[in-house]
């Protein structure tokens, strides 16, 4: 029986030859950390007099508190920055955007790579064919000091994408469809291996949106089989084509195969309070909204900003709506400025915050009060996550968020 993509990547990184073991030690190619979760390990790392295994292979950025809104968060941020500087990490990216976006903007994120990060959405590196996964702070401390971690070899679910992406839909609608089908634990411990057989192929931004939320299915990896889209993205980013493209064997052994025909897909929305509580927009009851949020590592990329700008150019958002826009990185913000999207959205009534996690995790500016109803491009609508326990968040694509902002409501006839 042949091997899946994650089998091959893990085999290539195994540090022992104990193929029968349930858990094995592997080396990693890169490590990602942000202010909130990395600050938690600073004392324990320093008390043990540890050293970073390879300072060239670490990306640290402050994205949860960027810039900090309270004195306590400023203290956490400063602890993180002092730690990052004292360990000599080469890629300390101060106020440059969300760590997951910075990872995929970095040559450290390569097809076939094995990457760990101190945040669950590290899985987004799978958008370029890397086996990337999130971990807690203790795991990250261990990996930062040793360049290794322990792993199980996951079962793989093959997700075959066929048909063509409808003009009104994006990667967000695709991953919400998959969440509707599989549920919050439908990919638990699994590697989700995406085979893009669509015509034309999915854009790189759509792939990032899909990989990002593979963790909402419980996935360990959410990896696209690398192809010409991957190669073109890496070459434009790195100046050279990827040195290797790890592919699954044609006769690989899959636990399950799920096929999604994109041609039949419609704009989707996840209702409170689960990312798997998904219906078609057309099936919604009408819901007045008070907040629209376009941002987070799940979206906030250039194509998301373009879709929103296309929807709102020359129009005004509903006066009852606060529309918060946060580009996922400063590079994306600059590109959006050059393309005129920032001006179109600002003229329509949107407000821009600095590239960061923003209100997604209920931490930074834009959080919700008890009576707020939000439609958001972020990845989790768990109860209380974006603010007050009574607030409500619906998850949707950038286009749906923009249309809802203009209409002042989510409605079955948005499309």
């Amino acid at each position: 029986m042949g091997k899946t993509l994650s089998d091959k990547v893990l085999d290539a990184h195994a540090l022992d030859d104990d193929e029968g073991a349930t858990h094995r030690r592997v080396r990693i190619d890169a490590l990602l950390g942000h202010d909130a979760t990395t600050a938690l390990i600073a004392d324990a790392f320093e008390e043990r007099n540890l050293k970073v295994w390879d300072t060239e292979r670490v990306i640290f950025t402050n994205d949860h508190f960027s810039p900090p809104a309270t004195a306590e968060r400023a203290d956490i941020s400063n602890r993180f920055l002092a730690f990052a500087r004292s360990c000599g990490v080469k890629h300390l990216m101060l106020d440059r955007g969300i760590c997951h976006q910075l990872l995929v903007e970095s040559p450290l994120c390569q097809p076939g790579g094995l990457i760990v990060g101190a945040d669950s959405h590290t899985i987004m590196g799978g958008g370029v064919g890397a086996c990337a996964t999130g971990m807690g702070s203790t795991d990250i401390l261990y990996a930062l000091a040793t360049g290794t971690t322990w792993m199980r070899w996951p079962q793989t679910i093959k997700v075959a994408l066929v048909g063509s992406m409808p003009a009104q839909c994006s990667g967000r609608d695709l991953i919400l469809s998959l969440l509707q089908q599989l549920g919050e634990s439908g990919g638990q411990y699994r590697s989700l291996e995406f085979h893009d057989l669509t015509e034309p192929r999915l854009s790189q931004d759509d792939r990032f949106a899909v990989s990002n939320m593979a963790v909402e299915l419980g996935g360990k990896f959410g990896v696209f089989v690398p192809d010409e889209v991957t190669a073109a993205y890496c070459e434009a980013r790195d100046g050279v084509a990827p040195s290797a493209m790890v592919l699954p064997d044609a006769d690989a052994s899959y636990e399950r195969v799920v096929t999604i025909d994109l041609s039949a897909m419609r704009p989707m929305v996840a209702k409170p309070w689960s990312p798997a509580n998904v219906v078609e927009v057309a099936e919604l009851e009408e819901v007045p909204i008070t907040v629209a949020f376009l941002g987070s590592c799940s979206s906030g990329r250039l194509s998301d900003l373009r879709e929103a700008a296309d929807e709102l150019r020359g129009f005004q958002i509903d006066p009852a709506v606060r529309f918060v826009v946060i580009p996922a990185s400063v590079e994306i913000f600059k590109a959006a400025l050059r393309a005129g999207y920032v001006e179109s959205l600002t003229e329509a009534g949107a407000i821009f915050n600095h590239s960061s996690c923003g209100p997604c995790g209920g931490i930074d500016k834009g959080v919700l009060g008890a009576t707020d109803v939000c439609v958001s491009t972020s990845n989790r609508n768990f109860r209380g996550r974006m603010g007050h326990w009574e607030s409500q968040t619906y998850l949707a694509s950038a286009r749906t968020v923009a249309r809802a902002a203009r209409r002042g409501r989510l409605a079955p006839d948005l499309y």
């Binding site: 702070s137 768990f382 209380g384």
Partner: protein, 167 residues
């Protein structure tokens, strides 16, 4: 450690209990008192103060899904939760718990979590992989493999080589 018993009262939860509910992000902090206080705060502001050391959390499918923030784990440890028994665990949460020496067990029969009453006294017989209810009934738990047991026995990942005592 593996031949001991864990005894505590049951706190019963459902499926897909996520880490934002376990520990709301507004309690994210480097200060232990604040982290400790935040446990389940939005779900039930009085729950944390009623927890007793050794109490056992019981859940359904996908316990601990969502964020990797280890403040959720720290809060469970600061509140001295004795163990967690669930139908299944989200992978990051399971790693975090194991790495910190908090023992997570899964039911052998997935529906068994419905047999546990809130507040009842539970006994986990670790070596036998059994859960004894207050009524004396015994429920099977999935045996934990040697790899995870080694981390438990060491007291967490940072007590393992190369950080902890060498073998």
């Amino acid at each position: 450690m593996s031949n001991d018993e864990i005894i505590g009262r049951a706190w019963v939860f459902g499926d897909d209990l996520n880490t934002d509910v376990i520990h709301p992000p507004e309690f994210f902090s480097l200060h232990p008192d604040k982290v400790k206080k935040g446990l389940f705060h939005k779900l039930d502001p009085d729950l944390q103060s009623k927890l007793k050391p050794g109490d056992i959390l019981v859940g359904g499918r996908n316990f601990g899904c969502g964020s990797s923030r280890e403040t959720s784990m720290r809060s469970l440890l600061l509140n001295e939760v004795g163990a967690i028994v669930a139908t299944s665990f989200a992978r990051i949460f399971f790693r975090n718990a194991t790495n910190n020496g908090l023992r997570c067990f899964t039911f052998e029969q997935s529906e068994d979590h419905l047999r546990i009453e809130p507040g009842e006294r539970l006994t986990i017989v670790v070596a036998a992989s059994k859960l004894r209810l207050e009524s004396g009934e015994v429920i099977g738990l999935t045996p934990t493999g040697p790899f995870i047991q080694r981390i438990w026995t060491a007291g967490g990942l940072l007590q393992m080589p190369p950080f902890g005592p060498q073998p």
